[in-house]
């Protein structure tokens, strides 16, 4: 599309679109998500599955445990992230105050 016909702008002028992220741009996010997925599987398997005596697969109690484990994991992550952000903001504020007192900022 672009690179052609610079002379007649009005004809080729498409409405400004938000740049849709290319697949390459999404790879780091995807990688992080998949790593997290693997980690949740590991944690919830370790915490919920402890019986290997039966022939049947994952029992209903185990399945329930895994479901709760996943939801809880996400809530924990969310809460930690919130608290961490608050902590960071406080630290920044304190640094600003110290900076003002010592005359770094005016």
């Amino acid at each position: 599309m672009f690179g052609f016909g610079g002379s007649n702008k009005s004809a080729t002028n498409t409405p400004t679109q938000p740049p849709t992220p290319s697949f390459e741009d999404q790879v780091p996010t995807l990688r992080e998500f998949l790593r997290e997925y693997n980690r949740i599987s590991e944690v919830c398997f370790n915490d919920c599955i402890n019986d290997f005596s039966g022939k049947a697969g994952v029992s209903s109690a185990e399945g329930l445990c895994v479901g709760f484990c996943l939801e809880k994991f996400l809530k924990v992550t969310q809460r930690i992230s919130q608290r961490f952000q608050e902590h960071q903001m406080l630290m920044n504020e304190n640094q600003m105050i110290v900076g003002k007192k010592t005359g770094l900022f005016k």
């Binding site: 697949f23 997925y37 693997n38 022939k55 994952v58 996943l70």
Partner: protein
């Protein structure tokens, strides 16, 4: 359509999949070793009980991984439908 991946992107996706399967394999090996092998090494052979445990452990690990994947996927869909993902509307707001 935009969802079509070119050769290079397919390569990236393939690499990512291998990376994740390697990670999963490592984690599963650790978990099943911990859960099935009694750390008393009088013998180099796997006992019958340990072998059976390992087989079931692998099956259950993959099952759990699958379940979590499905649940995560359904959560993602729910979230997106709540936020309204129609791309034409997003474009319109710019």
């Amino acid at each position: 359509m935009a969802s079509e991946l070119n050769q290079n992107q397919l390569q990236l996706a393939g690499d990512l999949e291998i990376e994740m399967m390697t990670d999963l394999y490592k984690k599963m090996t650790n978990s099943c070793h911990k859960k099935c092998v009694i750390p008393r090494y009088k013998d180099a052979e796997l006992t019958k009980a340990e072998s059976v445990c390992i087989d079931r452990c692998v099956a259950k690990y993959m099952d759990v991984h699958d379940r979590i994947g499905k649940q995560l996927a359904s959560m993602t869909v729910q979230q997106q439908s709540g936020v309204d993902v129609d791309p034409s509307k997003i474009v319109g707001s710019y």
